[in-house]
């Protein structure tokens, strides 16, 4: 029967076309990442070959070796410390604040709107006054300075997201815990946090990635001690010639932790994205 069907509408043809398109798109979107990755393993000869070398002869690690020998790789460690610690604080402070907003309607709708409106604050508009204050406090180029800043900047997002998840927790669970003799604080710790687990994970990933990706704050507020990897990458840019191998190797080092986090947390993420968007 299918012979009477026009070619382009046969089910098999359609699936094949979809695969072809999917494949082309994937190649286009993945190729830049592949290129970055592959440069980090190339020898200088291979990097500066013409025509370009599409895949290296061997996966030599000299480019990474240099980064570790010179101590540049430590900037990834700095990023890791800053992003994890600020994520931890933002999740705790944001979640309990969101709980207060949801369960007690603290400050009414106005407070909630004000908090969420902080999400649109352009970093470049506040980084300058913050810089001046940090100079005065002696917080420039310190962990504490950036951690405070990242935590504060993530808060609106965390509160916004966690509000949605906390609304989904049945009130009866909390009430039964209260009747069973828990204090309010214990309810938070023993009921709210465990019940909002999925939301906590999803939100934490985005919060982590936000802090991890930051460039502007780190550019302005670090010098040598807590330089993040994003700033370090730009140190290899040159006007005419770039330090190709170092850019690539550093970028890969900085991408691996995020890649792992996302891979492990993947099942929470799509839900996290769509939930947050739907809850608005």
């Amino acid at each position: 029967m299918s012979a009477t069907l026009p070619f382009h509408r046969r089910p098999g043809t359609r699936l094949a076309l979809r695969y072809l398109l999917a494949l082309v798109l994937t190649v286009i979107f993945v190729f830049p990442v592949y290129w970055l990755f592959i440069i980090s393993f190339k020898t200088p000869d291979e990097i500066f070959a013409f025509p370009p070398v599409w895949y290296p002869k061997s996966l030599q690690l000299a480019n990474y070796h240099v980064l570790f020998k010179d101590g540049d790789a430590a900037t990834v460690g700095n990023s890791l410390i800053l992003a994890s610690v600020s994520t931890f604080f933002a999740m705790i402070l944001g979640t309990i604040a969101a709980y207060s907003l949801v369960r007690f309607r603290t400050g009414g709708e106005n407070l909630a709107v004000w908090i969420i409106s902080q999400r649109m604050m352009p970093p470049v508009a506040i980084v300058f006054p913050i810089f001046l204050v940090y100079v005065w406090l002696g917080w420039v180029d310190t962990y504490v300075g950036l951690i405070v800043l990242y935590t504060a900047f993530s808060l609106p997002y965390v509160i916004w997201m966690m509000r949605g998840y906390i609304e989904d927790i049945p009130l009866e669970l909390e009430e039964s815990a209260l009747v069973d003799g828990c204090t309010r604080a214990q309810v938070l710790w023993k009921v709210v946090f465990p019940m909002a687990r999925t939301g906590l994970f999803a939100t934490a990933v985005f919060t982590f990635v936000f802090a991890w990706n930051d460039f502007l704050f780190a550019l302005v507020l670090t010098r040598t001690e807590v330089t993040t990897y994003t700033v370090q990458v730009t140190h290899y840019f040159g006007g005419q010639s770039n330090f190709w191998a170092k850019i690539a190797a550093m970028s890969v080092l900085g991408t691996i932790p995020v890649f792992f986090t996302v891979a492990v947390m993947q099942r929470y993420l799509v839900r996290g994205i769509s939930m947050g968007a739907v809850k608005g």
Partner: protein, 294 residues
């Protein structure tokens, strides 16, 4: 016996748990705002010690500052081109992967890669890809052109915007894709089936049934991306630093340059205020226009 509801720690509990967040937001959000406001009415720069009151001087300067308005224009151009492209491309991709197909999850995971890497790294990656001599893009273009291509993507005035927009679209289309895929999957299937039986074309079904259903999610995605594009900094820093000259200087790059290269403290504060004012107006308008206000 005292009732639990009147127990002091319980009564203040809701304030105790929200206080740290509010305090931090005030310190990092409100304080700089007030500080900027005050400074913007003074005559401070890092070159001399004059800190006298300047009234509206800095704000008047804003209107004479051609470079400022150009940077705003640059920002708008990038946003106006990149945002619709990301949206349409993301939507098309979401439709492509909406129906089940074996291996879909693998495709989706790979496609999301660009979004999870840092914007500064995305910029750096494209800096390498677009290199006029050793970059693969010119090489691939050369295959089609049949001769060696030597395009100076990050220097040639005609090519810098395409370069920035390519990179931007490459990094953020997957983000749109992921959100729209989730939204499309949530559309009630029997409604689109009913429309199909009613004889509605694809466009008509999209216009009257799918779009209204995904609009709340889509509007927020547009808002988020629009805000991010308005503040675009990292990708441009990595690709062109605002160059050649000031050709690709966006409002964020310009503000940074005024503050940290020219050290125009008061004037930078005035610019920051202008930016916040513009954003507030645009976002309020957008939220109302998109029907997002609940």
């Amino acid at each position: 016996m005292q009732l639990a509801a009147h127990h002091p720690p319980d009564r203040n509990f809701k304030y105790w748990i929200i206080a740290p967040a509010v305090f931090l937001l005030l310190a990092v959000g409100l304080f700089p705002l007030i500080y900027s406001l005050v400074v913007s009415f003074m005559r401070i720069d890092m070159m001399d010690t004059d800190t006298s009151f300047a009234g509206l001087y800095n704000y008047k300067q804003l209107f004479k500052d051609a470079r400022l308005w150009q940077s705003l224009l640059h920002t708008l151009i990038i946003t106006a081109v990149a945002l619709p492209l990301e949206l349409i491309l993301g939507l098309a991709m979401a439709y492509l992967f909406l129906e089940r197909m074996p291996g879909r999850q693998i495709f989706v995971s790979l496609l999301v890669l660009p979004t999870i890497i840092s914007p500064i790294v995305a910029g750096a990656t494209w800096r390498l890809l677009l290199d006029n001599q050793y970059g693969p893009i010119n090489q691939i273009l050369g295959w089609f052109a049949g001769q060696r291509v030597n395009l100076l993507w990050t220097i040639n005035p005609h090519l810098v915007y395409p370069a920035i927009i390519f990179c931007e679209i490459w990094q953020w289309t997957p983000f749109m894709f992921l959100i729209l895929l989730a939204a499309l999957s949530n559309v009630d299937k029997s409604q689109t089936e009913a429309a199909e039986i009613d004889g509605a074309s694809f466009l008509r079904t999209f216009r009257y049934i799918v779009l209204p259903a995904i609009w709340p999610v889509m509007a927020i995605a547009i808002l988020i991306r629009g805000l991010d594009l308005f503040r675009i900094f990292d990708i441009i820093w990595a690709l062109t630093m605002g160059g050649p000259g000031t050709m690709t200087e966006t409002i964020s790059i310009y503000t940074y340059n005024q503050g940290f290269k020219q050290f125009e403290t008061s004037y930078t504060a005035a610019i920051a205020f202008l930016v916040i004012a513009i954003l507030t107006v645009v976002v309020t308008w957008a939220i109302r226009r998109m029907g997002l206000a609940k």
